[in-house]
Amino acid sequence: METAFESEAVLTAQVADFILELGRNHPFGTEEGLLRRIASLCRADGVVLWLRMEGTTENQRLFSAASWFLDEKKKFFRYLAEDSLTYRQALAGTPGNFSFPYPPDSPDASDAEASEKIGIRAMCSIPVQWADSPWVDAGTMNGLVSFYRLRDTPFSLEAFQNAKLAAGLVLPLLSDLANRSAFELLRNVSKEFSLSTVSHAEPERFWRSIRTRLDRVVELVANAFACLEVSIYLEPPGKVGKEVRLMASRWPWKIPQREVYPAGFGLTGSCYLYAYEMQIFDLRRFIPDREVIRDRYPNADWAESIYVAEPIEGQEWFEDTPPPMSFIAAPIRHGDRTYGVLRCSVLRTVPYYFGADRLRALTLLGTDIGAWLAGELRLNDSYEERHWLRDYVESVAHLNVKAHQAGSGSQGDHSFLLGALESIRKALPSSLSSCIRMAEEGALHCRALWPEAETSKGGALDGVRAPLPLRPQPGSQLSLAAEVYNTGKARRENDLNASSFPRLSTDTNALIVCPISSGAKKYGTIEVRFRVSSDISDHAESALTLLGSQIGLYLFLADRIEDLRNEKDLRASEARIQRETFENLGHQLKTPIASARGYATFLDKKLKKMGKLQEDSEALVTYLRQAAQVSWNIKMFGDLAAGRPIKPERKVLNYDTLLAKITTAMKAASFRRTNDIDFIFGTDDRDVVTRNTILVDLGHLDQMLDNLLDNAVKYAADHSTVVVSIGTTHEGKFFYISVANKGIEVTPAFAKRLMQRGERSHVAVAKGGEGSGLGLYLVNEILGAHGGRLEVIPTERGVVRFRLLIPISQKGSVDAVLNR
């Protein structure tokens, strides 16, 4: 006995070594080989493993590799070990609630006495206890590992401990062996996914197809892992927090199974983290509530090795889902995008039931499903992101219309411009974030850059405009439309260089660059970086391009606002000038009309008295002429503003006509300031008109002369002279009528702007002189319709010279024009 005990005590160390060996690799190719090895270590002649699966009432002999021994050795057994379970005790029931019915296919069950004939002399049975759970009868013995000896040698205490230790190993070791086949199976599942395509023409069919395939995954995983519950929680892209789908599970119990969980239930962001970090539920790290077990099984020392799993503190289980005693979970993901969680659960408390291989296999499967989903969803034309894009485009178009109206300046409505700017400003941050969301899969970084962001002009875009770590290089990416760069492969040397993207990390394998622009004006760029080049979709490019246009529009409007606020720059204050223009025009109309009325009334009185008539009637005619001129100007201005071009009716100009018109215009102008302005008309070449063919609308010529001479008189210095002359210029291509006067100084820079609508000399404004700023503008427009132009030539000492340039016609073209 002592020898036997000693030898078996020595075996303890061998068993421990065996455990370590099994932990490193699996030297046994089959369960049978493993059981033989265990039996050998325990000096047993045979080992039988009986199990009862969770949730069932049927006992199954899962691993009966050693039963061959029983069949061959027909010997009786004896119950010798006092501290080990005898066979009869096992039949009677183990301590506590152990109830082990006859194994259905056991020779012991079918013929208990026959087993005595086998020659079994001693038996050591180790119960395998699963966890307490509300769904399995508490304390139910779920399995039994029996060691048999055909020798007449009892199992010693050491032998029993060895057997117990070995029994604790049997299940996980066999499980690990099973993992190998499971791993292969899951790889086949992955291949199936990678080779498959699904129809995505219709959303419902698309999702049905996905469901079908994921149901197949659940079935395969459940079989491979011998799991009772396999579930997939899927959160569709673009539906964050909206819907979580429980694709399938294999609960055998009557637990309400929901097809669709409401928002906020179950899978949340923290659950992602939970699944990601808690990939294996290590029961040994948690509470071994041995006190409870001792109370229930007072005579069972094996209770020391039982662990009760409890959830980690602070992490709640789903409210109607039983807590699994052991589970593994792997995220379904692709790149940085997590679509859901794949989870396998059992109710056993067996330590390390899920081995590392299973975890790796599940992780691989989750990755493959994620990649498959990413590809399918991106290709799915019916997916909601398309609708989102459509809405986005419509909103941008609406803003564009508003901004175009505001920016046109035709009405000069300051408040409307500010309103449009404000609406764009409000829409920008959400647009950018939406854009990032839309470029959903794996976007690493997104930001908008423009040089002006560092100045005061971009001040309202907090949160969007960041300090610029890089500036767009002129002529580089600014000139590009939205393009995709695979930075790891085909970086364009001409458009991008390393200095352009100093922060381009190795994580970035692709990026989208699109310009921030408004019309031809380029302000900056938007760039979105991706880890995986395949993550870039057409939608993301389109949305970013739109966003670039939107930001560009904002900057354009900001520029205009800045100009309008700058009162020192007369060019900018379009609204004010237009208001003054019409106000002044009204004044100009009222005064001559009122004067005409006054003179007419006065003449009427004089006629009655037969007094002086000549001078007064002449004044009346002059004022009426002024009124007509102003009304002509207003009418032409209205036509031009409405987009109606000037259509001159050309006639051949002769010298007498020209002289008469100049004289009349001079007389009318002189009437405005009779006291101190002299007029001179002179030319060195009187035949210039008769020698050349000049085609001009005679009414327009009156209008132009009136405007120019009226301007000259208004702004001429007191006691100065207005000089009118004619001639040819520009190598004889143009006939000119020149009007020069000394008065308000015109700088060369301002001379170019005088012909714009609403421009007046600031000195003229300060002195309160009349004028709408329309005269020169209209003269230039009339000349333009004739194929000529107005020249403003500032000369020294405050003398400014205006020249009407009218093209000299060729003989053939003259006939063509006149015959038209």
Partner: protein, 162 residues
């Protein structure tokens, strides 16, 4: 009775003068013209009593003559078309200017003129507004009325030296 016309439109001033002389021949040689704000301010700066019995005033009058390089006030601060209001304020600020009748003859709307006067905190007393619409009868009648009042006013006895 003496009259001052403040208007930058020379021909219009002539027309007003014709109407005044036609209606009140006694004004012959008693009508003066001032063409712009700066000239009026220069006239008022002379340390002599303001010798006019009434003023015909334009609102959108020029600020200065074309040979001058500076406006009397910055246009950004005081507005572009209210030199006549400033002329009125200058007259009212005279020691004897508070009761001088002012006949405003302007192309601007009456409401605009009243708003400008309120903004400048000018009283409407002794102020009458006539639209510059070519109908001079109301203005001439007002001047005649004023003339009769002045004529009816008892003359202060001359101090006889003892």
């Amino acid at each position: 009775m003496r009259c001052l016309i403040v208007d930058d439109d020379l021909q219009f001033t002539k027309l007003v003068t014709k109407w005044l002389l036609d209606g009140i021949p006694a004004l012959q040689d008693h009508i003066d013209h001032i063409l712009y704000e700066k000239a009026l301010l220069k006239r008022l700066a002379v340390p002599e009593p303001f010798a006019y019995d009434f003023v015909i005033l334009d609102i959108m009058v020029r600020w200065t003559d074309m040979n001058d390089t500076e406006a009397p006030v910055a246009p950004e601060e005081s507005g572009y078309f209210r030199a006549g209001i400033r002329c009125l304020a200058a007259i009212r600020s005279l020691p004897n200017g508070a009761e001088i009748p002012i006949f405003i003859n302007s192309a601007r709307d009456r409401s605009d003129i009243e708003a400008l006067m309120q903004e400048a905190r000018l009283s409407f007393d002794h102020v009458r507004i006539f639209p510059k619409d070519g109908d001079f009868e109301p203005l001439i009648n007002a001047v005649k009325e004023l003339s009769q009042k002045i004529a009816a006013k008892p003359k202060q006895p001359e101090k006889v030296p003892r």
